[in-house]
């Protein structure tokens, strides 16, 4: 269709550039953060150009690139864009330069660190545009390697064992996912995401499973349940859902804050994105009790995460648990889609709300979490050491701008109407209330708890009297402000005009909802 492979360029250019930085021999005193920052901005600009051109087009899937790759398994090298991909691509284009810039501003200027981040930028573009499982998994796994080294080599003391735990957890999740999806793909005879959703829509999926995976004459329900458990469980590790989140708080705390930005804003989204692509088509066939069980675990888990956040002393750990809580809403919305609508219009609308909310929440959580960790990294740079939530106090007087922006990000995270966090959460709860009311009811107190611990943090860290040490900090510099402007502006703008994002998403989401058979 399009003669020039823009999506491949977006993927491979940063990936190879990052790799190049990693294999260059180290010489002392050579820092390369500035060129790599410019490179990242450049790549992001290309992404945004692709996004704008996509928005100008009329079809839901565009920019497809396809080449035969491994014919023995019927795998193509296929990249393409639909509404969800576009939104996630936009998010990574916004966050990655900011993370690289934040590294530079907080004194992390090692060229290999920049190389790792560039590699992640490339793999993200690959993950969000891959059209089949094989290619998707390829990038999904590759992203793990630079992430591991970012945590291990530039993390706080003690990050050795933390990074290992991150790696092992991720690999176990990946293998479960791989094994599960391979079974699904060998039953369907195709690795394309599209053929999975088509098989689900045409009700051919159970037939294919029954024909090709008749293990021990298990009923099809059981087979789907096993596949659901493997695929959902594998992805849930990446998202950091509660019983599987053991790696997350330590990792987020030990990684340097700019890296944590990427981990929470983008890498955890790979898991959610995978859920939309791979778990959603399975939902109509998954046994209802299993859905209910998973739903209970999810909502109790997100409530637990909110309460844990309240109990944290370290600011970064609090933010980490808050992320677990926010992404829990997304998983809740996804599971709620399993409720049969039976053609009832109100339930169909509710499903559209839930799915739209899920996508919106993914995007806005990306923005907000990135903003929060960005500001945290600036604070860490000014006050070395752990920042505790009952913290220094009185920072607002010293750094009014930093405090102000932190306030904005915090309120967005709480879900104040008018800021972008509200839209996603509202849509999710609107949808889930209609679909599975009890789940929404259990999850609801988490919203309140979130407000409590965030406000308490604002009060103790920024307001009141400085507790000890009256060192004067410098407020935000021009560069620091400029770097976060795109994200902050979007947090404000999307709160009032969510349709900029929703218009991109809607055709794809509606197609997906209509594709679900009941």
């Amino acid at each position: 269709m399009n003669p020039f492979p823009w999506l491949s360029l977006l993927t491979w250019l940063p990936l190879l550039a990052g790799l190049g930085l990693l294999v260059r021999p180290i010489r002392s005193n050579r820092v390369l953060a500035a060129p790599s920052f410019i490179f990242s901005v450049f790549t992001s600009l290309i992404s945004l150009m692709v996004v704008l051109k996509y928005a100008g087009g009329s079809e839901t899937s565009q920019w497809e690139e396809r080449m035969e790759w491994i014919p023995s398994l019927g795998i193509d090298y296929a990249l393409g864009l639909d509404g969800l991909s576009v939104v996630m691509l936009t998010l990574s284009a916004l966050i990655m330069p900011m993370a690289l810039g934040a590294c530079r501003l907080s004194g992390l200027t090692h060229e290999r660190l920049a190389g790792c981040l560039l590699m992640i930028q490339g793999t993200l573009a690959g993950v969000f545009t891959a059209q089949n499982f094989f290619l998707w998994f390829f990038f999904y796994e590759i992203a793990l390697i630079p992430a591991y080294f970012l945590i291990k080599l530039w993390g706080k003391p003690g990050s050795e064992s933390v990074s290992l735990r991150f790696f092992i957890y991720s690999m176990i999740g990946s293998i479960a996912l791989l094994v599960g999806y391979l079974a699904l793909a060998s039953a369907l005879g195709s690795y394309e995401f599209k053929s999975l959703s088509e098989a689900s829509a045409t009700q051919w999926l159970p037939e294919a499973l029954g024909k090709n995976l008749a293990w021990f004459n298990l009923p099809i329900k059981w087979i789907v349940a096993i596949l659901f458990a493997l695929i959902f469980g594998g992805l849930a590790v990446k998202v950091g859902m509660v019983p599987l989140h053991g790696w997350l708080p330590d990792t987020y705390e030990h990684a340097p804050s700019p890296v944590t930005m990427v981990l929470t804003a983008l890498l955890s989204k790979m898991g959610l994105y995978g859920m939309v692509r791979m778990v959603m088509p399975l939902l109509p066939y998954t046994p209802w009790p299993l859905i209910q069980l998973t739903m209970i675990v999810t909502v109790v888990g997100l409530l637990y995460a909110a309460m844990s956040a309240m109990g944290q002393v370290s600011l970064k750990r609090m933010l980490a648990y808050s992320s677990v809580n926010h992404l829990g809403y997304c998983v809740m919305a996804l599971l709620a889609l399993a409720r049969p609508a039976m053609g009832e219009a109100s339930l169909l609308t509710a499903k559209e709300f839930a799915l739209g909310g899920l996508a919106m929440q993914m995007f806005s959580h990306g923005l907000i979490a990135a903003a929060l960790f960005y500001l945290t990294s600036l604070m860490e740079h000014r006050m070395p050491g752990k920042i505790s939530v009952d913290g220094p106090g009185g920072l607002r007087a010293e750094v009014p701008h930093l405090a102000g922006w932190m306030g904005l990000a915090v309120f967005a995270s709480i879900g104040l109407p008018g800021l972008c966090g509200f839209i996603g959460e509202f849509m999710i709860f609107r949808g889930v209330f209609a679909l599975i009311p009890w789940a929404a009811c259990i999850a609801l107190p988490a919203l309140l708890i979130t407000a409590i611990f965030y406000l308490r943090m604002l009060q103790y860290v920024f307001h009141g009297q400085r507790k000890h040490g009256a060192c004067s900090l410098t407020d935000l510099s021009r560069h620091e402000c400029l770097l976060m402007m795109p994200v902050m502006a979007l947090i404000l703008i999307l709160g009032w005009f969510p349709h900029y994002i929703m218009d991109l998403l809607n055709p794809t989401l509606i197609e997906a909802i209509e594709g679900m058979i009941f």
């Binding site: 491994i70 023995s72 796994e141 050795e160 790696f167 293998i175 060998s186 995976l213 293990w215």
Partner: protein, 496 residues
Amino acid sequence: MLSWTVYLSFLASIGCFISPASRPERCRWIALTSAILTTMMALRVMLFQNPPEDGAIEIITHQAWIPTLGIHFLLGFDGISLVMVLLTGIASIAAILFSWDIETRANEFFGFLMALIGGVYGVFISFDLFLLFVFYEIAIIPKYFLIAIWGSTNKSYGAMKLVLYSFVGSALALVGILAAFVVSGAESFALQELIQFPYEEGFQRWAFPVTFLGFVILAGLWPFHTWAPTGHVAAPTGTSMLLAGVVMKLGAYGALRVPLTLFPMGASIWREELALLAALGIVAGALVALVQQDFKFVIGYSSVSHMGFVMLGLLATTEAGLSGAVLQMFSHGIIAGLLFAVVGRMIYTRTHTRDLQALSQFDLRRQLPFAGTVFLLAGLASMGLPGFSGFVAELHVIAGAWQSYAWLSLLAGLGVVLGVAYTMRALLASFWPAPHSVPAHVQSLPPITLPEKCGAILLLAATLLVGLYPRLLLDWVIPCLHAPMLQPLIERVSTI
């Protein structure tokens, strides 16, 4: 042309033996030249010939050898052979480069090494089963001397155990081959003639397991694998690379060529039990690797685990499984070679220890950054990360196994997870020990030499190339699976 791989290797072997022991460099260059030339021959065929669409065997040489017994000197190749020949070529170049430092009796060392390589080439391109068996035996003898003379750590025990296991295996395989010949009443040992004969089910019922076990003992099928780790550890580096890299493949290749091709009915009777052994081998090998203190034993047991994938793929007897098995043979040949090269040559000859605890004293990452990078990449490849050949291969195998035995593919998945664990453990203990365990003053180590760098880069390039573009091999392998020779095997499965 491809038959010259065999002749040239044996010529080089003789050349090494007759050159004086005082001139080791001459032997090295003879061996290296011959290995490079033979690899070029394989590459030439692979790159400049189109794979035959029907997967037919291209006969190179066909001459009567012992006509009264129907034994022919019959050399030929198809896609699967070609892949294995290429693997042998690459692995032997690397093995020679990593044996560059051998000074004692270098003429004999390279002589035996080239004889081993010649025998291996011979197995891969023989299509007369008797000839195949002869080459199979020829490959065993030099192994013994290579380990017993130039080895380390329990070398005579390791060498003897390896040879005894190999002979037991080949005796069983010979029984199967002879029985197939006698029962069919054919006038030739040629594979293409033997497959014409419809063996009875009762005959296949016992002939298949005997022949199959005979071959896969050399491939390290659990629980007949114990020769492999001790042999690998005892062998000098170049030999371990060849042992794990290509000699174990002889067993798997033989199992594919002889029992699976000749006795498809027997295969469908026994494949579940044998596949269970293969899957157990994947997990057991990985578990044992997880607790080893000797670095080389970690790699040795990881070979057992990875070869389990080959056999699981073979026994899945689906197209995906079989092509996965061939890919895994290639991939493991390269990766195991790389791992043994780092551990046995780059580290051991410098530090004289392979104990993981002791290695943390050397601050290896800063002293040998090249070795660190190579082992990191090789470790990632061995874990089966996408981008490296191991991933494509294991993916094919698991996909194939899903169709045949669902639960075993879960076991294989567990094996991959354990693979990550033992590789990370070894990697962290050796190259990234906790900072406080590294002494302030470390004994300085000699830098990595040029031959080592060349060998490592060659192997890394091979695994990456195949990982990113598996069609390079698959275009040759897939038509062979559609060839009439393997059809009975694959069809039997799909009808069950």
